[in-house]
Amino acid sequence: MATNSEAGDTFEAQSGGTMSDDALRQVESPDSLKVTFPTDRPLRLDSGFDLAPLTIAYQTYGTLNADKSNAILICHALTGDQHVANRHPVTGKDGWWSTLVGPGKPIDTTRFFVICPNILGGCMGSTGPASVNPETGQAYGLKFPVITIGDMVKAAARLVDHLGIDTLFSVIGGSMGGMQVLEWCVRFKDRVYTAMPIATAPWHTAQNIAFHEVGRQAVMADPDWHDGSYLLRGTRPARGLAVARMAAHITYLSEKALQDKFGRGFQNRDQRSFSFDADFKVESYLRHQGSTFVDRFDANSYLYITRAMDYFDLESDNGGKLANAFIGTKTQFCVISFTSDWLYPTRDNKEIVKALNAVAANVSFVEIESDKGHDAFLLDEPELFATTRGFLNAAARKRGLPAGEPTS
């Protein structure tokens, strides 16, 4: 079932070879739209660094209406990209949210103009550590500035400006995508009509940071990482990144999901091998997840993006009171969490709801019953689909957008 989990691929999926020149080519020549903002318009990052030039690779689906009121921005998660609802150019798989986005889907591309940028710091065509540093003519590597979730949002806002859109009908995203949704609602209050932060949190907890640090240390411990300059040396820290992915993957699932799927089942054998082979199905599965991930993802991007997530804290950014972030908001919010998500649990999502209530904002909140863990937001969850469809349809009526197809 889990064809598009944040964790990636199905157990049965075939590995796509080594990373793949295909993937590397996406950095400079993405198989998607892209826009480059010239050097005289640098992006001022939260760190104070002026980043230029800035390229944003993006996909769009559907048609922008005449008064540009039907645009929905989708924000992707840590290892997602702009390929929301089309075949992925590197993996060949369906888009990561093709269950939710498309003609007749809850985010209906026959009604809405859907935009999804690859985030700043990503490796699918937007400016990131694998992009060419104009000062050296080589990949940035660790010369790339440390970025924040807010920086990703400011970069995406450049794209939205470029498309001539003033107010977004909705900004939607899960996990780190949800953090971007929240930043949109804080930094560009008047430009967001509705917002759907899903399976997310208003800050990264100590446990979240701890898991990310394990991942980063795994990458950095790989001798092929070469202090981040592996692209220049023609190596790749594939083992380190794979271990990072394996550890992270566990956090996207639930204990029950792991137990139900694998239990103590053996992989291609009937008994213990008395070795360190992948005796168990769960080991084989994790190794597979690690190896397919390194085929499509840049290790330095992984470091930078996880760092941005760790720095995310809307409470401390707003004078120690989360509600302050939302004062004066007119946005209609729909916050969604999942019962078995222990990475961004309901408790954290409810902090967002409480803060919004404290400023009498218009907010709905649904906790959806699922045993699929954090990954549930990417999977076949009928209640997620019904809620998304209902919320967007009602808001579209209020906004005066034409009625959608009456799909159940």
């Binding site: 404290a358 009498a360 909140f365 019953e369 009928p382 209640e383 019904a386 209902g390 919320f391 009602a394």
Partner: protein, 217 residues
């Protein structure tokens, strides 16, 4: 397991609940309303349709919240005991608690919160002072079971049942004023005894109270 989504609002609404109609009469058009324990959103929809209110809801049941949101209502999953404290003072014109106060853990705190969040509170509840209940207790010596209160005491979620007189005492205790009190029977017929609290308490199967804070501020 994914909980299935309850299908709501299939054309033709369910018959409107009697207490909902009485509550709707008490709400001024265009108000901001918080419906605590909003269930499937029937009252919020009625108020939006007939009074053009800006409505929000709180509901404890996951499936009902999901269904409410899917029909375009702004509802959060939560309950009266734990989620009212997060709302600011005077955020609403009306806070409504319909047939829910008897199921809260701390009815007094809940009522105080309602009157803090909103200028006025509308509270409906089953009246434990109704003559049939009194008689049943007297005659059988056991907890009464009526069409209004069908569950055995150990199954019932109603932890804090009260009579109309009890409720009036609580209103005084939280420094509020009764603007309007309507007792009604099971068919939703308003009993023409608004001047006599004692008669309301004897003959009303349920009651709806419109309350407001005595002191503004």
């Amino acid at each position: 397991m994914t909980a299935s989504v309850t299908t709501m609002g299939q054309s033709g609404l369910a018959p409107t609940r009697a207490d909902h109609l009485l509550i709707a009469e008490m709400v001024e058009p265009g108000s901001r309303v918080l419906d605590v324990g909003c269930g499937d959103g029937a009252l919020l929809e009625l108020l939006a349709r007939t009074k053009a209110v800006d409505g929000r809801g709180i509901e404890i049941s996951r499936e009902r919240v999901s269904a409410c949101v899917a029909r375009g209502l702004s509802v959060i999953q939560g309950d009266a005991d734990s989620d009212l404290s997060g709302y600011p003072d005077d955020a609403f014109d009306y806070a409504i608690l319909s047939l829910t106060i008897q199921a809260t853990r701390h009815p007094k705190v809940v009522l105080e919160n309602l009157l803090r969040i909103a200028r006025r509170a509308i509270v409906s509840f089953p009246n434990f002072g109704h003559w049939q209940i009194r008689l049943s207790l007297l005659a059988t010596g056991r907890m009464p079971r009526t069409p209004n209160l069908p569950d055995a005491w150990y199954d019932s979620l109603d932890a804090h049942l009260c009579t109309i007189e009890d409720f009036v005492d609580l209103v005084k205790l939280v420094d509020a004023r009764v603007v309007e009190a309507v007792a009604f029977n099971s068919t939703g017929r308003r009993l023409p005894i608004e001047r006599s609290r004692r008669l309301q308490n004897l003959f009303g199967e349920k009651a709806v109270f419109l309350l407001e804070r005595k002191r503004e501020g």
